[in-house]
Every structure is written in C-alpha cells, then in structure tokens.
C-alpha cells in the first residue's frame, strides 16, 4: 500500500514536471522498491540517481550555477578593487581582461580534462575546488592588494596585476565547467550542437541573472564578503550534489 502510494506520488510529480522532458529527460517508469529514495529525489530534480540521461537536469542546474557565480564574482571584483585602484574605466578593463583570459584557459583545460573517463565526481570536484579557491579572496584580498599597491605605482598595471592575483585561478576553474558539462551530456554527434547550445543557454542565463541579482539587490543588503561566502557555499553545494548523485548511482 505504502509502496503504491509512493509510486503514485512520484509519478504525479513527474507528470507535473514533464515539461522538463523538452530538455532531454526521460521519465522513470515503474520505480524499483530498492531505489525509492533515489526515485523520490529524482522526482524533484529529474536528475540525481541515474547518470545518463537522468542527471541531465542536474547538469543544467550546475551549469546555471557556474554561470551565476562567474558574473556575480566579476561584478564584485570592481567593488573589491575600488579602494585601492579606484573605479575608473581601466579597473573594469583589467577585471574584464582577467576574466576573459581565465575563462579561455578554463575552457581549454576543461575540454582537455573531459577526454578521459569523464565522471560526475570529477565534474562536482571542479565546483568544490572553485568554491574553495574563493576563500583566499575573502581572507587575503586586502593583503594582496596592499602588496601590489606598494609595488606598482601606475593604477592601470596595478589593477591588472591585482585582478590577476585575486581572480585568475578561481575563474580558470569555473571556466572548466562549460566544456566538461558538454562532454557529460553529448550522446551523439548529431545532437552535440544542440546539447552545447542548451548548455550555453542555461549557463549564460545564469550569468545574466547573477549580474542582475548582484548589482541590483545583493549589494544593497549584504556586505561583499557575505555575498562571496554565499557564492562559495553555492559552489560547494552544487559540487557536493553532483558527487552525491554519482555515489548514489554506483551504490
């Protein structure tokens, strides 16, 4: 009885959310009793228990979160650097240069990493590492900028060097997300462009919303370090959910 009720509940949630099938998700039919926990989880996220194609939604959620974090971080970069290097156009020039350069390197490395034995554990690890690398920014930003400020007098090159020191490494890691997620989701050459297009759509949408939320609302209510801590937590949470999903799948 309980089993039938649970099945009905799961199927009704699946029914409500079947719109997500346009994103490539297959519905789970006849959930097996041993996998109730997983199936229930699946019903909410359409994602967590089976690696392919059930984790599709989870991958999109992660790609969205990665895009959100990148642009939120970039906008906060201007705020972080203003006390030392001002708010002039060259400070934004430095920040955007460093982010673009780091993302380009990240794409290269992420693509390279995805060639051999792609897995959700590795995918999740990218998020965990990126989140971990944001911590030094919260703790040592002033010390790093103080050092650069004392060393380089011209605020243009000072801001370029400081932006490199503060943002390059975490942004390289965040850049690895996009190509890696393409590798995880592509299952045929014919649909590879479509899959990549959907992933870019979702992650760039995340970037747009991250930009808007940060500049319109977050800075009005929270301290910069609180927002950075929240971004760190978000990345750690996303990474942990990918790793957990993978573990549940192989359990």
């Amino acid at each position: 009885m309980a089993q039938r009720t649970l099945s009905a509940l799961i199927n009704s949630i699946l029914f409500v959310t079947r719109g997500f099938e346009t994103l490539g998700v297959q519905r789970l039919k006849n959930p097996h009793p041993r996998r109730y926990f997983c199936d229930f989880f699946y019903a909410f996220t359409h994602a967590v228990c089976r690696l392919r194609p059930d984790v599709t939604i989870l991958t999109y959620i992660l790609a969205f979160g990665g895009g959100f974090a990148i642009m939120s971080l970039e906008l906060l970069g201007g705020k972080v650097m203003a006390p030392y290097f001002g708010n002039s156009i060259y400070v934004w020039g430095s920040i955007i240069t460093v982010f673009m350069l780091s993302l380009s390197i990240g794409y290269l490395l992420g693509g390279r990493l995805s060639v051999r034995t792609p897995s959700y554990v590795r995918f999740g690890s990218i998020f965990v590492i990126a989140g971990g690398l944001l911590f030094p920014l919260i703790l040592f930003a002033d010390a790093i900028m103080d050092l650069v400020f004392g060393w380089i007098e011209d605020p243009r090159y000072g801001s370029l060097v400081a932006a490199t020191g503060l943002f390059m490494i975490p942004t390289i890691i965040l850049g690895m997300i996009s190509p890696y997620s393409v590798r995880l989701l592509v299952d045929s050459v014919a649909h590879s462009g479509q899959t990549a297009g959907r992933l870019y759509f979702v992650s760039t949408l995340g970037s747009a919303i991250g930009t808007l939320a940060t500049s319109f609302y977050f800075v009005l209510h929270f301290e910069i370090n609180s927002i950075l801590s929240a971004l760190t937590s978000l990345l750690l949470l996303l990474g942990a959910s990918a790793i957990t999903a993978s573990r549940l799948r192989h359990a």
Binding site: A82, P83, G86, S88, E153, F216, V219, E223, I224
Partner: protein, 300 residues
C-alpha cells in the same frame, strides 16, 4: 526626512546663477567621466557636468570680479579659517572650476595646495575658462582620489585644511563615501586641522552619509544654510566661541573681496555645533563592504 528636503529643488532653480535661458554655451564635450559644459552669461562663466534637466552648476566665475565667490558652499568653505587660521598645506578633492584652490592661494600665497581631480578635461576647462593656474604652490593630480589618498598616506605631508567635493551630482563614486576612505582622509589631517565636505542634503543617503561621518569623526558640525540647501559637514578642532567671534571680526576685511559673510557664519557655527543630530543615527554606516550609495540616493 529632514527639514531641507522640500525646499531643495525649488530653491536650487532660484538660486543657481547662470542657469537661465540667456546663457550661451561656450564649451560642450563628453569626457571620460561626464559631460563637461561651460555656459557664459555676460561676464559670468559657469561649469556644469551634465545639462540633463538643467542640473546645477558646479562652479562659476565672474570675470570682472574673479575673487568674488559665487556659490554658497565655496563661501562656506572659507569658514574653515575660523578654526584653522594659518593653513600651510591644503588638500582639495574634486577640482571643479578650481575656485577654492585659487581663492586659498590668493589668501595664503605661501601655502602648498594639492588638488585632486579624476577628469583631465575638467582641469583643462578650469585653466581655459576659470582662471585656474597650477604652479609650484598648487599641484594638480589627475587621479582617482582614493588611489591618491592611499599613496599620500605613505608620504609625510599632512594637511591643515581638507575639502571633499568629489560628487558631481549625478553619479557618486561609492568608494569615496565609506568609513575606510574617511579614516584614510582623517589620517591626512594635521593636528588642529579642519575638514569640510560638501555633501548631499536629500534622500536616504543623508542619513547613511551622516552616520558614516559621525562614526569616523565622533561628531561634526552640520554646517547647513537653509536658504540654499547646502550642507558642509565640518570637522573642526575645539575653539572657544569668543575666539571664533574674534577671528571672524579679524577676517572680515580680508574676506570682503570674496563676498564671504564670515561673521554670520561664525554665529551659525557656534549655534550649530551644539545642535542634536537631525538624521537617523541608527542608519547603517557605509563601508568598503557595504556602499550602495547610488542605490540609496534614489530612495526618498
């Protein structure tokens, strides 16, 4: 909301010289930071940073009487001499037309003056239209004020008078309105020195900005002139009332060509320095971590 806000816009239009239809535009260029406009009305030249909605002038000069100060806040700045009568080093953040540095160099030819201006075009216009001249006593630094201040802290020079006037009325450089910036500026102030800041008199920002200055300086004189809705936050050393009056009387003749009602200012300052805060003292202090000044300014 404090008591000047309802007067602000109407009075701004009435008291702003040179903003009428007879003005002739003699300079109009888009600079890296704003739109710089110079209007000429007979022999009065005025500097504006945007012509949208006929915004207020930043600086004006009467070419026939170049010493005469036209704006109330520039006259109010002269009241700093009541507290610090013999300045040897003066810092002006935000050049505008260069009215303040020129007035102080005429009054104190031996004083060293540093003027900080982010926009090279403004310096050019000040020299071309407002009789501003940099020389061995007046140095202009084309730099972001925060960056310049941090660098200056590593040097030895301290200032007897500091004027903060970096806000052009449209966009606020948020990193110049934080507790940390004011602490850095405070560290540049010599013992016995006076700091004045030309600041916002309207919107939610009034509370936050006042709370921030109070947090850093412990207290200040809210030097406001009702008729023009100008407000100069004044951080000054303790000087007895009687000495302020004596100094005002002594300065009266010197300041006459500048059209500064110094004895009236002395009376007002004496009255205002014991006045209770008229802002929300619980307002959140602006810091480098929390500085949404432009968003707060749009709230009323």
């Amino acid at each position: 909301m404090h008591r000047y806000s309802h007067l602000f816009w109407g009075l701004m239009l009435l008291v702003t010289p040179g903003a009428d239809a007879a003005a002739e535009k003699v300079y109009d260029q888009r600079s890296l930071y704003s739109r710089v406009v110079v209007n000429r009305n007979d022999h009065i030249y005025c500097l504006q940073f945007s012509v949208q909605l006929n915004l207020r002038n930043q600086s004006c000069i009467n070419k026939r009487k170049p010493r005469k100060l036209i704006f109330e806040y520039t006259k109010m700045a002269m009241a700093s001499l009541l507290f610090t009568p013999e300045p040897k080093a003066i810092l002006v953040v935000g050049l505008g037309g260069g009215t303040l540095p020129m007035a102080f160099t005429r009054l104190f030819p031996e004083a060293h003056i540093d003027a900080i201006e982010i926009d090279a075009d403004v310096v050019k216009v000040a020299e071309q239209y407002f009789e501003f001249r940099s020389d061995e006593k007046i140095a202009v630094h084309i730099r972001d004020a925060r960056v310049w201040t941090k660098r200056a802290l590593r040097g030895a020079r301290r200032y007897d008078l500091i004027f903060l006037d970096a806000f052009n009325g449209e966009y606020i450089p948020e990193h110049l309105m934080t507790r940390e910036y004011l602490q850095e500026t405070q560290a540049l102030l010599a013992p016995g020195g006076t700091l004045m800041a030309n600041t916002f008199a309207v919107s939610d920002l009034y509370d936050h900005e006042s709370a921030t200055y109070a947090d850093v300086f412990g207290g200040f004189i809210n030097f406001a002139v009702v008729q023009t809705a100008n407000r100069m936050i004044t951080v000054a050393p303790a000087v007895e009332d009687e000495i302020l009056r004596e100094r005002a009387t002594a300065l009266r003749a010197t300041l006459r060509p500048y059209d500064v009602p110094i004895r009236r200012y002395a009376r007002q300052l004496i009255r205002l320095r014991n006045k209770a805060p008229d802002w929300d003292t619980e307002a959140r202090v602006l810091t480098d971590q929390f500085s949404p000044a432009n968003l707060l300014r749009n709230r009323r």
